[in-house]
């Protein structure tokens, strides 16, 4: 019952939003006095139409993209599905590399107060840097646009992962570690059977934050270097001042971001435990 109620409210809000959108983008009265020769040279928005597309325009565009999401008309024009796929590969690549580096390093930092104190200044200085600020340096050093964007994803995913892993490892209850010590469990076995399961929910929360940031950053990175990906798609449509397609891309980015987030939230539920 609660679920149905919330669903009804959600639908009402959606209808209200669409109504406001449609009303706000209604076309003005077309100026019919314009000379037809001149009218042929001008675009719809110079003749009184609203420059922002309404919900019906965007709906039609979404349908057009869904009908053929994987077309390929040359290196600069591919379907929205293909572009999303390119972006996802980059995000998962950079994110995967970040997990490989950050989780073991976070383990070390979390289990050694000395390491924690000595690495703290580096993490504190590098963490707040916008990942895109790395882009020019990456392009210059790596000399490859695709690898540079993976590097940028890597560097933005690393910090939340590192900090959360270290925090999770450091806050494993000392009683559990003591019990393990009493049973003379070795370091390696203790790490995998006691510390890792205990810290897993915190680590996965770090992953969830990381992948969210990575998905935010990839769009900006691809707008910067171009080539392929959903960010390039947005840039290319902006180029043509096609707001309709930009809005379509916003929805697509939102949906994929939600799926990534929900996926990791599901994983977190799998490893969480009650004390």
């Amino acid at each position: 019952m609660e679920y149905v109620k919330s669903l009804i409210v959600t639908l009402l809000i959606l209808a209200a939003l669409l109504g406001v959108w449609a009303a706000g983008t209604r076309d003005g009265v077309a100026d019919t006095s314009v000379d037809p020769e001149l009218a042929a040279l001008l675009g719809p928005s110079a003749k009184g139409e609203s420059p922002v597309p309404g919900p019906e325009d965007v709906g039609a565009a979404v349908w057009g993209h869904l009908k053929d999401p994987f077309y390929d008309k040359g290196p600069n024009d591919k379907g929205i599905g293909t572009q999303l796929f390119f972006s996802l590969v980059r995000v998962l690549g950079g994110f995967g590399l970040a997990v490989i580096v950050a989780v073991p390093l976070g383990f070390v930092i979390g289990s050694s107060p000395l390491m924690q104190r000595s690495l703290e200044p580096f993490i504190q200085i590098l963490k707040p840097v916008s990942p895109l600020a790395w882009m020019p340096l990456a392009l210059y050093v790596i000399k490859d646009a695709a690898q540079s964007s993976i590097f940028v994803i890597w560097i933005c995913s690393v910090w939340p992962l590192l900090i959360n892993t270290a925090f999770g490892v450091a806050s494993v209850r000392p009683e559990w570690l003591n019990v393990a010590r009493c049973h003379e469990v070795g370091w390696l076995r203790r790490s995998f059977t006691v510390v890792l399961p205990a810290a897993a929910p915190t680590i996965l929360t770090g992953m969830k934050i990381s992948i969210g940031i990575a998905w935010l950053v990839i769009v900006a990175a691809e707008m910067l270097v171009g080539g392929t990906g959903i960010g390039y798609f947005v840039w290319n449509e902006w180029n043509n001042l096609s707001l309709t397609n930009v809005i379509v891309a916003i929805f697509a980015i939102g949906v994929v971001g939600m799926v990534l987030d929900q996926g990791l939230a599901g994983l977190t539920r799998l490893v969480s435990y009650e004390e």
């Binding site: 024009d77 171009g226 290319n236």
Partner: protein, 451 residues
Amino acid sequence: MPSPTPAFDSDANLAHLGCSCGKHAIPEAHNVSQEARLDDIIEKSVMKAVFPNDVQRRRFIKTVGASAALAALSSVLPMGVAKSLAQEAMGKPEKTDLKVGFIPITCATPIIMAEPMGFYKKHGLNVEVIKTAGWAVVRDKAINKEYDAAHMLTPMPLALSLGAGSDPIPFRMPAVENINGQAITLANKHKNKRDPKLWKGFKFAVPFDYSMHNFLLRYYVAEHGLDPDKDIQIRVVPPPEMVANLRAGNVDGYLAPDPFNQRAVYDGVGFLHLLTKEIWDGHPCCAFAASQEFIDTMPNTYMALFRSIIDATDFASDKSNRKEISKAVSPKNYLNQPVTVLEQVLTGTYATGLKEQPIAKDPERIDFDPFPYHSMAVWILTQMKRWGYVKGDLDYQKVAEDVYLATQAAEVMKSMGMKPPSTTYKKYMVMGKEFDPATPEAYLNSFAIKR
């Protein structure tokens, strides 16, 4: 049972079953031996030119060995290019799959249309033209060799070779793409401020620091008594973002490449204040550029690419082809613009956005001319120095002749039946003021506003 003679091929050319000289069974064999012979002739004639005295030459070759002598000479003379120039279409490209970067603006028309209209194919190349987000990215991808060659702004190869704004990397500019074709666009609210003297405090956008747009805008406002660094603000904004910035009021106007001037009129955001041809009629804008390394390591590929660009530029300069070209370059894969916007730019019949004269006709609004005059480079260098982009002494002629390959362009144009100009230097009139490429320093010192 296999037949003793090959089956008759109805498509075979009966007149030329063998090669043209008759000594080779198939034309390919003829070409190979012809190529080797040509190489030999060129090498011998270069040796002869360097050592006109027969006795001296033989003694020199005897002491150092023929191949060592040739290698020593090749290091001074671009033997590879000379050879492929002589071979014309004969030299097989070392590599046929190429990537050429471009910025989606009408200046790049020849580079772009050469793909859909088959000019690269015609010269034996399989070129992918790759759309790029901005000039800095084009520069970096060209340096990184992600692109074999690229669409650049005419000042960029000069800046790259001089190391202004990046490490010095020898880039060469074999051909100009377009002349004219830019404009100053102002926001609609400035319709009563057509006099540049009223522009104090305006914010302008240009596509790149090392661009004709920047130098022409600076020149234009300075001629009207405004200091471009103090009285107005000039920002670098990628062309596609200009219309959005103009609509939002972030900039008051821009000197930019088309289609973004025409697009501002098409979308009812701004009006065309002036075409850049009114500042300097025949000014260069965009160019086709490649690194010295690419030219040296793949001379045949480079020549084939060079010839396809010259071919396409020549086709684009014919005004009767412009409508067809507008359609070829408008799809998403290329410029991604409405055909009517491109047609207005390329045919020169366009809406101005002004009440007094809503439609203007100027067939010379944009033109395409590949010849890279050295004097163009000298003018650009004077402006780079004028505004402090390069400092210290500058050997104008040497830099111009190193970077702008005018002599080579003339050779290629001649070999393709075109008529290149007989001189690589000429005088220009820029806003009524004469520029003489022979006296760049005097020209530079004649300006009241400079750094």
